[in-house]
């Protein structure tokens, strides 16, 4: 009998962890206010060991109060968007699906626009945006379930409809908004940016995203089976309805959180899962952990670019589109060649 050694070794994850750590550390040193690598290491170590101060007070403040929250949140948003994309693509058996398939982004975007329109505080905007993201998916799932067609198709159609409804509502808000302050604020917010990230955002973002990713890590084998389609997955013993609902809710929470704090950051949820599948295949046991690290590293990288590229900060959503759109085109060409 031939024995095939298919045990998954953890070393497949090593390059992704390395990439993440490298980008994570370098991003602290880079910015409008440069901090030398030696000072960076010293400042970081000074929190643990008593080291003589050779750096300015500003360096420390910038590092811990401004850069650190932003980099950590960029990492979590990158991981969340990428994992959401990976999950939705499996559930809908379509590798070209992105995390906003069920209208989460449009819903959360509308919520934020509404908050800005009524002059809510930053915290208020985050919460209302998050709630509208969830509302959009709740509406999509309620409508989708009522349609008697193929369940997956019903969700997608309902998603397009709800998404369009919220996008139009946002456009209406922009139309009636004060053109001096509110309209630019809404427009800038929807472009996606991490400039206004604060330390106080950390608990909200870290808690919700971590609590969403952990159950998915435990469910990565049944998620593999779910990609085989409804009938086959059920016949293999998976409670498909329950698994699909859990996965959709967790992916939606993650996407809503990202829009609530960072605005609309497109393409990450499409590009990273694709790249991972190209490198590792489609087994969720490997792709899910790798996606977390690559997604996190990628968004820190793009956010760092957005901080240093020009004298003004380029909204991160614009940069992810600049990178994502050509990559998508490359994928289409690659698929075309296969056919």
């Amino acid at each position: 009998m031939t024995n095939h050694n298919f045990r998954i070794k953890n070393n497949y994850l090593f390059p992704f962890i390395l990439f993440f750590l490298l980008v994570f550390i370098l991003s602290f040193a880079v910015g409008k206010y440069p901090i030398s690598p030696i000072n960076l290491v010293k400042i970081l170590l000074s929190k643990v060991f008593p080291i003589e101060r050779t750096w300015s007070k500003e360096s420390e403040t910038i590092l811990f109060n401004i850069r650190m929250p932003r980099i950590i949140i960029a990492a979590f948003i990158g991981a969340a968007l990428s994992v959401s994309g990976l999950i939705f693509q499996g559930i809908f058996q379509n590798p070209l699906v992105s995390p906003d398939i069920l209208g989460t982004t449009s819903g959360a975007g509308f919520g934020a626009a509404l908050g800005l329109f009524f002059g809510f505080s930053y915290f208020g905007i985050t919460i209302i945006s998050f709630l509208f993201g969830l509302l959009a998916v709740f509406l999509v799932m309620s409508i989708g379930r009522k349609l008697n067609n193929n369940q997956i198709l019903s969700f997608v159609l309902a998603g397009i409809m709800i998404s369009s409804l919220f996008s139009s509502s946002t456009s209406f808000l922009k139309l009636v908004a004060d053109t001096d302050n509110t309209l630019p604020a809404i427009t800038y917010y929807l472009m996606g940016s991490l400039t206004s990230i604060r330390q106080s955002d950390l608990p909200f973002v870290i808690t919700l995203i971590t609590l969403s990713i952990i159950p998915l890590l435990f469910l990565r084998w049944p998620l593999n089976v779910l990609t085989q389609g409804e009938d086959e997955a059920r016949s293999l013993g998976v409670n498909t309805k329950l698994l699909r609902v859990i996965a959709i809710i967790l992916a939606t929470i993650m996407t809503s959180v990202t829009v609530a704090v960072g605005g609309v950051i497109g393409w990450v949820g499409l590009v990273i899962p694709h790249l991972i599948r190209m490198l590792l295949g489609c087994d969720y046991r490997k792709t899910l952990p790798a996606t977390i690290f690559l997604g996190a590293g990628f968004l820190i990288f793009v956010d760092t670019l957005s901080r240093i590229l020009t004298t003004y900060e380029v909204p991160i959503g614009i940069l992810t589109s600049f990178i994502g759109a050509p990559f998508f085109l490359y994928l289409l060409l690659r698929e075309g060649k296969k056919v």
Binding site: M1, T2, H4, F6, D231, L236, G237
Partner: protein, 258 residues
């Protein structure tokens, strides 16, 4: 392992019954073939037997317990299902595809371990397809793919196999290869329920043939008995002549349109 269906009726909408008062018993080790036109209700019957559809009338007993009392995982441990040839959106290796069969053997929050992987290795070797283990499921031939799905069904350790037109879209050689593989499984105690549009395959391999016509079972007996009637002609609305041949001391039938 027994499955008993009593007076089963099912309709997707109230106007027309897709299954109409079906009663059927499957006995351990039996190879039962279902013949019927498109839309006769074969797939609906299978979906009811797998617990995907809830019938409006009648009962399905699995080991004397109502099917509705089983959880999806428990049904999967007793009944395996193989669909007709299709292509996956995500291209898993043959090994991982077969490993998915062990899902009903492990807890929901865990992943297959060494024991499950060894079981898969052993099944692949028994079916003679170990060489395919590393290959991607969409890169192998249709016949090999169906053998991989049979391996996946065996990994479930279920003793009843429901095969929905699994030889459809296969070339003739692969049809024979898959059918003879299934036929061998009955010798190991597997119960086979197999739907096909190829009456000759059913006449050669099945112990019993069911004819499903507009949601009703119009015939349930041995291939010999079916060959002696003109029920196949009326089922397919085509005048068919069934010729009995004796090859290597075994009865074989061929269907020829008149």
């Amino acid at each position: 392992m027994r499955i008993e269906i009593k007076n089963l009726s099912f309709s997707y909408n109230s106007s027309q019954k897709v299954l109409d008062d079906i009663s059927l018993n499957l006995i351990e080790g039996e190879f039962v073939s279902i013949l019927g036109c498109n839309g006769a209700g074969k797939t609906t019957l299978f979906k009811s037997m797998l617990g995907f559809l809830t019938p409006q009338k009648g009962t399905i007993l699995l080991d004397k317990q109502p099917l509705s009392s089983y959880k999806p995982k428990e049904i999967a441990q007793k009944i395996a299902y193989i669909p007709q040839l299709s292509y996956s959106t995500f291209d898993y290796t043959v090994f991982n595809t077969v490993l998915m069969g062990t899902t009903c053997q492990i807890s929901t929050l865990s992943t297959p371990k060494k024991r499950e992987e060894e079981a898969v290795n052993s099944i692949l070797a028994n079916l003679g397809i170990s060489h395919l283990a590393h290959k991607k499921i969409n890169e192998i031939s249709g016949g090999e793919r169906q053998l991989a799905l049979i391996a996946r069904a065996l990994a479930q350790k279920a003793k009843i196999l429901i095969l929905d037109e699994i030889t459809a879209n296969l070339d003739y050689g692969n049809q024979i290869k898959v059918l003879s593989m299934i036929s061998k499984l009955t010798e190991q105690g597997y119960t086979i329920l197999f739907s096909t549009h190829n009456p000759e395959g059913a006449l050669i391999y099945a112990d019993r043939i069911l004819l499903l016509d507009s949601g009703k079972i119009s015939f349930s007996d041995t291939p010999e008995k079916l060959a002696a009637t003109d029920l196949l002609s009326s089922l397919y609305k085509t005048d068919l002549y069934i010729e009995k041949l004796s090859i290597d001391n075994k009865s074989r039938y061929i269907c020829i349109p008149r």
